[in-house]
């Protein structure tokens, strides 16, 4: 996913999943059961909080793997 675009999410329960964008990093998703990747495939999550990649460079997409920090070190805004 790219910056500013919310990921498609299937909620884990009745409540709406809650999203929180981390500055220069992923979007944290609470209350999700599944998250859709760029290629349309769905990925299950069992975590209370999941970090969804916003820089597009993670090797674990849709999940964040910390690669945005490498981009930041190289002077690239990872979520621009």
């Amino acid at each position: 996913m790219s910056a500013g675009v919310s990921p498609a999410i299937v909620a884990a329960g009745d409540a709406e999943p809650r999203l929180h964008e981390c500055p220069g990093g992923p979007v944290l998703v609470r209350g999700a059961a599944r998250v859709q990747g760029d290629d349309g495939s769905w990925h299950d999550t069992h975590r209370p909080v999941s970090a969804v990649c916003r820089c597009g460079a993670s090797a674990l997409r849709p999940w964040c793997d910390g690669t945005h920090k490498v981009l930041t070190q190289r002077g690239i805004n990872p979520v621009d």
């Binding site: 069992h46 975590r47 964040c64 793997d65």
Partner: protein
């Protein structure tokens, strides 16, 4: 686990005393030329009485008054040494004022922690293992790491009842995930144990303590010190934040290094899990835990940075120690 083998006169006296039922007095004095490893092992044993203890030690020793003054003395010495080095670091980098500025509260705290991480140029064990790792070095790395990984997240659990409100809720999101998020087969310390067993190493808690090197003992002692003292909750959480924030990328490197050495998939899977989990924990620990804590308790600002620095410094000492040993081999 059983009591470890003593490494000097102080740990010898303690181990001898612990083999008997608790007494009101234990002769735990030191000679003038005491040894750092002997001291560190003694403190590790004293702390371990509060975790899972020892199969050959009476559990009533945990709160025995006869042990508290030596524990306090060893803790004070460790904390003073670390604080002195921390202040030197701040001074050398012109950070003393900004870190100790209580009025600033949580302003700029996350940036301070990021800057600390980015300015850390200490060697990386993960990179070394990827480039020059051998099965023997990987095995030694895992045995040294097992001292912490088999009790992973436990020292931070002590901090939970010392917090209230949003910082507590955020810390529990991390801890819940560390303990498997309700899945009995996903507890992180058990994932590591499974990896050790698949590699042919012992997965028994504390099994490799007799070969734990001084920086490993001190790394673990600092974590227990921060966790066991309410006064040091800021340091415990600063340590947690930097630990999590410096985990995802090295974990990915370690998973690659271990696969390159054809080590079992269970072991690499432990590190795979940490790439993904710690990318979440990092965000929670920096902002929702540390920033929130300092917003509520501004006097803890410098202690959060102290814990963060200690995490980097103690890992740097561990890395330098092992690399020196391997280079000399």
């Amino acid at each position: 686990m059983l009591l470890p083998t003593p490494r000097g006169p102080l740990s010898e006296r303690l181990v001898t005393a612990l083999a008997h039922p608790p007494r009101s007095h234990v002769h735990l004095c030191r000679t003038a030329e005491h040894d750092a490893t002997d001291d560190a092992l003694t403190l590790w044993i004293l702390h371990e009485l509060h975790y899972r203890g020892f199969d050959d030690v009476d559990e009533r020793w945990e709160w025995a008054p006869a042990l508290s003054s030596m524990r306090q003395r060893l803790e004070q010495e460790l904390e003073s040494r670390l604080r002195a080095d921390f202040e030197t670091h701040l001074d050398q980098h012109g950070l003393t004022e900004v870190v100790h500025d209580e009025q600033a509260g949580s302003d700029g705290l996350v940036d301070l922690l990021h800057d600390l991480i980015e300015s850390d140029d200490s060697p990386s064990l993960a990179q070394h293992l990827l480039r020059e790792g051998t099965p023997e070095r990987a095995s030694e790395f895992l045995r040294q790491r097992s001292v912490y990984h088999l009790k992973e997240a436990d020292p931070t659990a002590w901090v939970v009842p010392r917090l209230a409100g949003p910082a507590k809720a955020a810390l529990m999101e991390i801890q819940f995930d560390e303990y498997g998020a309700g899945h009995r087969d996903r507890v992180h310390q058990d994932l590591f144990a499974r990896g050790l067993a698949a590699t042919g190493l012992s997965a028994d808690y504390g099994h490799y303590l007799d070969e734990a090197r001084l920086p490993i003992l001190e790394q673990n002692n600092a974590l227990s010190l921060f966790g066991l003292h309410r006064r040091l909750r800021g340091a415990a959480l600063g340590h947690l934040a930097v630990f999590e924030a410096t985990s995802s990328l090295p974990s990915r490197t370690l998973a690659r290094a271990l696969r390159r050495l054809d080590l079992p998939e269970e072991l690499a899977a432990y590190y795979d899990e940490h790439v993904e989990a710690d990318a979440v924990h990092e965000q929670l620990a920096l902002r929702d835990v540390c920033e929130t804590l300092v917003r509520e308790e501004s006097h803890l600002r410098a202690d959060v940075v102290f814990g963060a620095w200690a995490c980097l410094e103690l890992e740097a000492r561990t890395a330098r120690d092992l690399l020196q040993r391997w280079d000399a081999a």
